[in-house]
Amino acid sequence: MELRKNSVRQAAEAVCNGEPTAHDLIEITLKNCSVINEGLNIFNHIAGIDAIEQAKAVDRRIENGEQLPLAGLPVVIKDDICYGVLPTGFGSSAFKDFISPHTATAVERVMDAGAIVVGKTNLDDMGMGSTTRSSPNGPTINPWVPGYTAGSAGAAAIAAGIGMFALESDSGGSLRQGASHCGVIGLRPTMGSVSRFGLNAFSSSFGQVGITAFSSENIISVLKIIAGYDPRDSATSVCTDRLDEQNSTPALKDIKIGYPVELIDYLEPSMRVIVEKTRDEYIAQGLKFENVELSLFREALQAYYVIAAAEASSNQARFDGIRFGKTGEADNLEELYHKNRSSTLGREARRRSIFGTFLLSKGNYDLYYRQALKVWSMVRQEFANAFKRCDMILLPAVKKLPASLNGDKGFLDDWSEDLFCAPVSMSGLPSLTLPAGQIEQFPVGIQLVGSPFSEELLTQVGSRVVR
């Protein structure tokens, strides 16, 4: 069964009918994982025997008459999302063999629905980045253009046809930029709709679990399974069943899409052409556009990096090598902390932790951190004003084409790549990244940003122009 030719529903039904069995499907998938991984460096761990055992268990559940909406379907999980059977590395060599005592809620939910974890995917140092170039395991290679990064390994896996869907984290935009660079679909859901229990979010305010897949239909099928209240993440308490409230979709002709014309003018010409073409196709299908003002993206990106670094400096205090992880030999406790933490945090994680601590220190807190919190509120207000005039907003997903594997552009250039994604993370709004065109051989995506819990509408509108 070729995964990308089937919807989640069709594939699960086929497995429930034994055509193929979960065992057969996973056996083939694992072989593909190994072969493709050699060329693309997608996985930190491939599940092997564990996935086979899971598949046998799913086949038994099917025999017992269970209806499983994700029966036997292979899922790949970013390696900062805990799964209590395979190692969870967080993008640090110190956690190469760490087995978490927890399994993330999102992972539990897809497994309860019959999905099978086939591997943990590569990521940047402590999940900090949108290229995988700072991974201790080396970068994941773009399946379309070898020599360039994939952005996210989960997106590379889906583009390579390995998994039915991927669960990935997204803080400043790694999931969305990866989807854009690999020509697949990525959803960062409304903040609060999906539990973050078991996610190692370096930034508590912005880290979120999202979905990457080959079709919008698959994205929404999986979202409905993983979304909902979780007592282990109190931030999900605002979300009850609001996703279902969106079922009464308005007619396309009644939908108005916001177009931040000044922001789009800021793009390089070839990127701008892709956004403009997407707009023109929507107009040809009868959708209306309305110019909206989003003038704070540059300052929002800067505020994002102040807040995210500050939160990273605090969140990473847990990595002391005493309660979990790897520990070394030392004569005293202070030395032990220094040794363990220095071997755990790589270059990017050290940079952000040190910057974050500096920004929170006396004399800098008000100047930088408090100012960033205020900019955050202005960004939210700007989005709220825009949504008074439209139902969703069309945005670029990336500023540039993917980074070369060998080039070192400097950290600020890397951070600047989050220009169109980080401000959306600050808004807490759902964002769907869709393939929209190609520049030379590089796929390029756009984002559709919706009002809270409007994911279903986003996928329905989004699927009208997917290439």
Partner: protein, 94 residues
């Protein structure tokens, strides 16, 4: 630059990360670049803006305080050095 080198040194000491002299200088240069990069954000007039503490405006939500089964043994197993009910660390009293 001297102030930034001191700032990096203090921050790395506070978060217990070993930083060599060369790395300190590199980080101080990068911090300098970062602070300059932040200037447009600093120039923004935020007098009318309130601070935000969460992206969807949620307030702290408390769940009902009821006992749940914990997997303490599994948590302890995750520790690299654990014995007799204690996390083992080097002596902290001379």
């Amino acid at each position: 630059m001297t102030d930034l080198i001191k700032g990096v040194e203090k921050a790395s000491r506070a978060i217990k990360i070993e930083v060599s002299t060369i790395e300190q200088e590199t980080l101080a240069r990068e911090l300098d670049d970062f602070l300059q990069w932040l200037e447009p954000m600093l120039e923004l007039n935020t007098n009318q803006a309130e601070q935000v503490l969460f992206s969807h405006g949620a307030v702290n939500v408390l769940r009902e305080d009821c006992p749940r089964q914990s997997n303490l043994a599994e948590l302890q197993e995750a520790a690299p050095n654990f014995a007799g009910g204690f996390y083992l660390v080097p002596p902290i009293i001379e």
